[in-house]
């Protein structure tokens, strides 16, 4: 038995829309099977993972909270992936953005510095993430070094930088030796949108990023240039588009947005620096970007859907004693299913038994 692919002459829009849904259902079935193998009830798990968060106002708010960094990072990654460039180091750019932004918060701590602190922190976060993202881009354009491996190695380095700072020079002297910085002043804190809520202004940044990206990709020369560089690099060269400039630009954009996500999370949610400031948002955002088919609106929807798996994973850990790793495993299998479903969009698939149709 083997699978036979033949390219479709034209891609139907129906398939294009159905494919991510199909992938999601398949991933759920596989995850259910794994849970069943572990001797638990898949139906009970489904209830904890999906039904409960969707019927609980507190959990609905948490979905928005966790979808915020996912959407911001994934929007940035969509620029890279559209140009066929592989920035898989968003997690590191997120961390460096948080570190550089927090530097201002810690320098102005207790000084009554005023309203400029927060905007400066956000700008520094964007700048830090963008510069960190430019390292693999520069190594690629200048020396031809593969961006996949360098961007990933930089994740480990970024995490070690953060670890060093919160255990060493930036540790709160009054923090009972815990590896964490001082709690940020109110002037260095990103406020919630609604007084009682937990959804902070990062959600607004994410929404703006989605809208701007929709316009840039659909209506500008730069968007056209990205698509052309990704789909037909030779044509892009003949059109006079420099691949190097494109590479640097998309890495700066995605690094900057990841950095913004990082500083927003620290200034909005956590309120201080600590060794762990991300449950793997930078990697999960890759799944989000593909689940959203690299389309800004699609990514927004995908971020909300994948955010649900984080919330569900947390309650499943408490209520069913299912380890948090299940969430990561699910996100991996989901990405695999999404990519496989893409094959259904562009190819006709037949299962052929051996000695069958020639």
């Amino acid at each position: 038995m083997r699978i036979e692919l033949s390219p479709r002459a034209s891609v139907s829009p129906i398939w294009r829309a159905i494919a991510p849904v199909l992938a999601f259902v398949t991933a759920f079935l596989i995850a259910g099977f794994v849970i069943w193998l572990m001797g638990r009830s898949p139906i009970a798990a489904f209830q904890v993972y999906v039904s409960q968060p969707l019927s609980d106002p507190w959990a609905l708010q948490e979905i928005l909270v966790k979808a915020t960094p996912l959407a911001l990072i994934a929007i940035g990654l969509s620029y890279c992936f559209r140009a066929n460039l592989w920035n898989i180091g968003a997690e590191g750019q997120y961390v460096i953005g948080a570190v550089v932004g927090s530097w201002i918060a810690l320098k102005t701590h207790g000084t009554d510095a005023g309203a400029w602190v927060l905007p400066a922190m956000l700008a520094a976060g964007i700048l830090g993430g963008a510069l960190y993202g430019l390292i693999p881009a520069f190594l690629k354009t200048r020396f031809g070094v593969n961006e996949i491996l360098t961007s990933l190695m930089l994740v480990y380095i970024a995490q070690l930088v953060l670890d060093y700072l919160v255990r060493g020079p930036w540790r709160d002297p009054k923090g009972f030796n815990f590896p964490q910085s001082v709690t940020f002043d109110p002037a260095a804190t990103l406020p919630p949108i609604f007084d009682a809520g937990r959804v902070h202004y990062g959600a607004v940044f994410a929404a703006v990023a989605v809208l701007v990206t929709a316009v840039v990709l659909g209506r500008t020369l730069f968007g056209y240039r990205l698509r052309l560089t990704g789909d037909a690099p030779r044509a892009a060269r003949f059109a006079g588009f420099s691949a190097k400039t494109t590479t640097l630009a998309v890495f700066a954009i995605s690094g900057g947005l990841a950095g913004l996500a990082g500083i927003s999370e620290v200034a909005g949610q956590i309120g201080q620096l600590q060794p762990s400031i991300s449950p793997g948002y930078g990697f999960t955002a890759i799944t989000v970007a593909y689940l959203g088919r690299l389309n800004p609106i699609g990514i927004l929807v995908a971020a909300l859907v994948v955010s649900l798996t984080f919330i569900g994973g947390e309650s499943a850990q408490i209520m069913l004693k299912l380890p948090l790793d299940l969430t990561q495993a699910f996100q991996g299998i989901l990405l695999l299913c999404v990519l496989a479903a893409d094959a259904l969009v562009s190819n006709r698939v037949r299962i052929v038994s051996r000695g069958g149709v020639r």
Partner: protein
Amino acid sequence: MTTFEAILLTIVTASTPLLIASLGELVAERSGVLNLGVEGMMAMGAACSFAAAVTFNSTAIGVGAGVLAGAVMAALFALVVLGFAANQVGSGLAVTIFGLGLSGLIGAPFVGARRDPVAPLHLPGLTDLPVIGRLFFGQDLFVYGSLVLTLAVALYLNRTRAGLILRSIGENHASAHGLGLPVLKTRFLAILFGGACAGLAGAYLSLVYTRFWSPGMTAGRGWIALALVVFAAWRPKWVLIGAYVFGAATVLQLHAQAAQFGVPSQLLSAVPYLATILALLLLSLRHGRAIGTPGSLGVPFVPDR
């Protein structure tokens, strides 16, 4: 035993998993498939081998389970990238995320358990020689196995017909297909071999190197194995050299941390990752772009008929 001897011995132990995983990836990449799932396959190998070894109280069964786990993950990867011709970078990454998560699930009940050391080779007379005795004649079987594997992969690729077919498929799959060579079948077997090697490398990590399981214990070794293949310009001999250089860097930074030079331990921990970036950079500086890259590397193959 002097400290110097001890350092040499630990370098061998640190290098062996890198060597085994890199050899597997080398064969897969020579067939034209970029497998970024090594890290996940390695984690699965480490978790499954440790779980099986503790459950059945047998290192042999543990190693078998590790190899099998790596191969099963590889089969999943192959289904998606060969069967559905999906994007190899994304799919490999997905396998890594999946493998890291699933290995955490499988290993969770075994956190805290320990295994006894695996008995090293002992040849009376030879092993007891000063300095070189333990180093050359007193290693565990994996170490000798990894060296034999290096030789076998080199001979297979360069001296056999099957190796020639594999390389030609990796160089240009369309032409190879035109000649009637089995592109997908060869790639499938190459991916399986790569996964089995990654699983074996993971088994070595949890059964020999640390002798316990902890989540995320592969700590990027799968990615370093990928970098080694590029660094070695897709040649087995250079994978061997590269693996030992990296193993040495890892061990020396650990000793430097223990010696407390007043350098932050995080800086020393970053050495393997910084060294990887530096190695890739130096290679590109010398050759312009990475030489020896298989022509069809990472390109999905859909036969036209």
